[in-house]
Each structure stands twice: as C-alpha cells, then as structure tokens.
C-alpha cells in the first residue's frame, strides 16, 4: 500500500500526483521530484549495461529514513513513482511490480480516451479508482 503515487510526463512535469493526506504533503512532492534524478541515472545506465536490463520496472530508487521510493518507466518515457512507508516491510518486490502493472494498464486506457489530451493532467475516475485501491487507507479519507 502506497503513501504516494505519481505519474510524470516525459518532459518531467507531473501528470498526476496523489498522496495520503498528512500535515506536510509537499514533502511527497519533493520526494518524487528528487527521485526523477535517480530515474534518469538508471535509464542511462541501462544503455551501457550490455542489453540485458530492458525491463520497464526500475526497482527501488532510493530509501529515505521513513520511505522507500520505487520507479517504473514506460516506453513512452512516462514515469510512475510509488512511495511506500519504510516500516511496511511486508510489501514484496512482486507486489510493487504488480502495482506498477495496474498503473500502466490504467494509464494506457487513459491515453486511448479520446477526451484526454496527452500532456494534460489525468482526470479519469477510473484511474483515480485504481490508485485509491493502492493507497494506504486512513480513517479521514472519504
């Protein structure tokens, strides 16, 4: 279960960002922003490592004191970032991968929606629903 999920366009601006309501939501925005550098590093590293890592899933980007940040980049250079609580040790790699898979599937549906313009922020209820299903549910969320 994530505390923050973000979708970043290939030009590196956010298409969608949702976090668990806390006092300082801006810190999640900051975390996602700094993770973009790590994403860039990983992508350019893939080019050099002899052809094997052609996966879209990037794995753990970096751990902070309280959180772990995971990344995933699609072929269309759109990045997905998932932030989870460090204390949540039961969350396995496979589960994170399947979360990204679901995000990617839902994102593809949004892209194919003729009422959505690529490059605009994502305003799809279906996408919201998928994301809600992956976020930590707190008592105060509706």
């Amino acid at each position: 279960m994530a505390v923050c999920i973000a979708v970043i366009a290939k030009e590196n601006y956010p298409l969608y960002i949702r976090s668990v309501p806390t006092q300082n939501e801006l810190k999640f925005h900051y975390t996602v922003h700094t993770s973009l550098d790590v994403v860039e590093e990983k992508i350019s590293a893939v080019g050099k490592s002899l052809g094997d890592q052609r996966e879209l899933y990037l794995g753990l980007l970096y751990p902070t004191e309280d959180y772990k940040v995971y990344g995933y980049v699609t072929n269309s250079k759109v990045k997905f970032v998932i932030v989870v609580d460090s204390s949540n040790t039961s969350l396995r790699d496979n589960e994170i991968r399947s979360m990204f898979r679901k995000l990617h599937n839902s994102f593809t549906d949004v892209m194919c929606n003729p009422f959505h313009s690529p490059g605009n922020t994502i305003q799809s209820k279906a996408f919201d629903g998928i994301v809600s299903g992956m976020m930590v549910q707190t008592a105060s969320t509706v």
């Binding site: 290939k10 893939v46 080019g47 052809g51 052609r54 996966e55 879209l56 980049v73 699609t74 072929n75 269309s76 250079k77 990617h104 599937n105 994102f107 593809t108 892209m111 194919c112 929606n113 003729p114 690529p118």
Partner: protein, 166 residues
C-alpha cells in the same frame, strides 16, 4: 472516434469503411464548397496523430524497452503496421541520418481505390491519416518527425519519415 480504438484488432473492413467515410465527411461538410484541400488533409493528419499516440501506448505496454531509433522504426514496420494493416512494411530504407523510407507494396487503404494510376490525384486524402498515425506513434516514444507519403502506382506507396533533432 472511440470506435477507432476498438476496431484496431477485430476486422480490417470496419476500419477501412470508417476511414473512407471520415474522408468523405470531411470533404463534403466543408462550407461553401471551398476546396481547401490543405486544411482537410491537415485535419485527417491530426486525427491520425492522436490515434497513433494512443495506439502506440497500448502496443508498447508489454514490449521491452527500445534500444535505439532503428529499433523503434523496426517496431513501426513490423508490429505497428501489422496491428493496423494486418501486414508488415515490405521495405525499410534509411540513410542513417534521420531519414527513413517505408515501402508498402500493397497498402491496404489504397488497394480498393485503384490498381494503377487511376484516381492518383485522390491518393493524398487516403494517406493523410496514416501519415498522422505514424507521426503520433513516434511522438509518443519521444521522437519528433515529419511524415509524408508518395504514391506513383497504386496500391504501392512510400512513407518518408524525417526525424527532427530537438
């Protein structure tokens, strides 16, 4: 327009019919009977662009990451072309400096039109959408391009892609 996304896998015929009808619609709904050919072609091309973006997103969802530009072009010639036209591009040439020529000897959207030089002047209308489709597909992968098409003897035609260095 959402019907375009659903017919991508099913049958060729609905797509061809729809494509032809769209072209008819655009030309007959022009006001005052003006023959603003350029604007209609641009409208068709832009439609193709948007469809290309969405289609490429769907097709690359399960594909491995592309190595380089040539890899992307091969994908367009094989998987992408097969998805839309049920066949691959017959010949791909490049000057390795950003220009690619895709040759389709039996382009599906022209094969019902004529088998030679008849109606040659109408061919551009039938190629505009596909040019946009390719441009949109490439743009979604981060490749900016200009796509044009030329045809001398139907149903063969060539699509020329000029990569724009950003």
């Amino acid at each position: 327009l959402s019907a375009w996304r659903r017919t991508r896998m099913a049958d060729e015929a609905p797509f061809q019919f729809l494509h032809n009808e769209v072209i008819q619609y655009i030309y007959t709904s022009a006001e005052n009977g003006e023959t603003e050919n350029g604007r209609h072609i641009a409208t068709l091309e832009n439609m193709g662009f948007r469809v290309g973006q969405g289609l490429m997103e769907r097709l690359t969802k399960d594909a491995a990451r592309f190595k380089d530009e040539l890899d992307i072009m091969k994908f367009v010639c094989k998987d992408f072309w097969t998805c839309v036209f049920k066949k691959q591009i017959d010949n791909l040439r490049t000057n390795h400096q950003g220009i690619y020529v895709l040759q389709d000897n039996k382009f599906r959207l022209l094969s019902q039109l004529s088998a030679g030089k008849q109606y040659l002047e109408h061919a551009p209308k039938y190629l505009a959408f596909t040019c946009g489709l390719v441009r949109g597909a490439l743009s979604n992968l981060g490749v900016k391009s200009i796509v044009t098409a030329e045809v001398s003897i139907m149903p063969a035609c060539k699509f020329q892609i000029m990569i724009q260095k950003m």
